[in-house]
């Protein structure tokens, strides 16, 4: 698939809460086809400590406006600097990168996300809707003040909510949510994205319940397009590249323990 390194223009930078914001970025040329699960590599201009690009999932694609969105959690200098971007600023992206979530054959799909890991699920929801499928969402946040965009997700499917401190939705991690208490689980497939520990827990639970599960990994990357071999993950086929063979993997294929 053809890849590009292009400047995008910041259309909006919406602060969701103290640690998260959404950038809407407009391309100068028509966007190519992009699939949910794919990511971009962001060049953080003018941030002296930021040498390498930073990978971010594609949160949403709006072909009509020729924009894509990133949902960013402030972690270090790179993401902090991205948070300072203003309407009209340029941001250079290499895109579209990586594989994508598989396309399910039924409606009975659960999209599980935690924190900034919810990013690709919005795009996936929209994508499934266009294929006349309505997924369920299970999204987890640290606490109520980080819960955001629930209305948006609700457009694409039913939303279950959990927070670590119980201040909104059910209390606890997503794996403790009552959705997972059902036997058998009323889903044909689970798609999951979030912190490593969460993805591991969800994939274990899915395996126990006999439901296929795909996870989207966030391994550290140098290039993002398959040439540096820094982002590898151990699978049943040996070392695979998160940025090419992933970031989406069938959870059953991963050897979790060795991953970082």
């Amino acid at each position: 698939m053809k890849k590009f390194a292009h400047d995008f223009k910041v259309v909006t930078n919406n602060r969701l809460n103290t640690r998260h914001f959404v950038l809407e970025l407009q391309a100068a040329l028509p966007l190519p086809e992009i699939l949910p699960g794919q990511f971009v590599q962001v060049l953080v201009h003018n941030s002296p400590p930021t040498f390498l690009r930073r990978p971010f999932s594609i949160h949403f694609v709006d072909y009509a406006k020729n924009t894509l969105r990133l949902l960013v959690q402030v972690k270090g200098e790179g993401s902090r600097h991205m948070g300072l971007l203003q309407t009209g600023d340029n941001l250079n992206l290499v895109y579209p990168l990586g594989n994508a979530f598989s396309v399910p054959s039924s409606n009975k799909v659960l999209l599980v996300g935690g924190g900034a890991g919810v990013a690709p699920l919005m795009f996936m929801g929209d994508y499934l809707n266009r294929k006349n499928l309505r997924p369920d969402f299970l999204v987890g946040f640290r606490s109520g003040d980080e819960v955001s965009q629930i209305d948006e997700y609700s457009k694409y499917g039913k939303v279950f909510l959990s927070t670590d401190d119980g201040s909104m939705g059910e209390k606890g991690f997503v794996t403790q949510h009552s959705v997972f208490k059902q036997t058998p689980l009323p889903y044909d497939r689970i798609y999951c994205c979030g912190p490593d520990a969460m993805m591991h827990a969800v994939s274990k639970l899915a395996a126990e319940k006999g439901v296929p599960c795909e996870v989207s990994l966030e391994n550290f990357m140098a290039c993002g397009y398959g040439v540096c071999l820094c982002c590898i993950v151990q699978t049943d086929k040996g070392n695979e590249r998160t940025c090419i063979e992933g970031p989406v993997f069938d959870a059953a294929r991963l050897k979790w323990q060795s991953n970082g």
Partner: protein, 294 residues
Amino acid sequence: MTFKNPVTTASGCFGYGEEFKDFYDLGLLGGIFVKAVTGSNREGNKYPRMAETPSGMLNSVGLQNKGVDNFCKVIYPKIKNFNTEIIVNVSGSTIDEYVMVAERINELEGIPAIELNISCPNVKEGGMAFGVVPSTATKVTRAVRDVYKKVLMVKLSPNVTSISEIAKAVVDGGADVLTLINTLLGMAINAETQRPVISTITGGLSGPAIKPVALRMVWQVFKAVKIPIVGLGGIMNATDAIEFMLAGSSVIQVGTANFIDPMVAPKIIEGINEYLDRHNIASARDIIGALKVC
């Protein structure tokens, strides 16, 4: 052998070239130095394999590759018709392994040269160990020279007291061309977790941070030996490339910069041409080693 222009891409930073076909026409490049090839399959080092550092990065990939047999049978057929020179970076843990790989690559018609990697800091045996002692550097070079009939390039490690001494040792062994530099041995620590950032504790430092050291070594070696030099280390743009040529590089390689801007190599080719035009210099050849020092 000749390159259509002096801009090539560095081993380990460009895969086998295929991934970059998604970005531009590989025929633009002077050449491609493909990822290290060893005697047999290597899984490489554990994750995490990289750390960002000021103006650079550490890597500890550890020569992950599927081995020379796979290279000849699976990869070579896919890349041999790229409209540019393909040079294979040959690595190993023993002299026999280097020799074996070189013999196999010697048979591939579409490969005009190998680059002997005696400078990888990220594997336990072999690699850099060969490249930091003059006598073993001569020995491994000579052993490969005996079996390899085409252009033999040898890639030097900067982790030495005297780079010109090593360069001379490798010339004694029969090298046709010297490539320098490979990565500097470095380390990164996460103060919060109090742990090393990469799994192997130490790794190879690349990127603009090492450019001053690389330029110095190219210059020292240019004065010490008579064979051509392929220069690299932190080249990010045409100005950097020109500096390496002025210091004595006939050809330059672009490594880590490919990660920051996948389009960087063609941009460097263009930038060099603009520079030559602006300075009324007929050919890139005219600036090789042309540094004015008095």
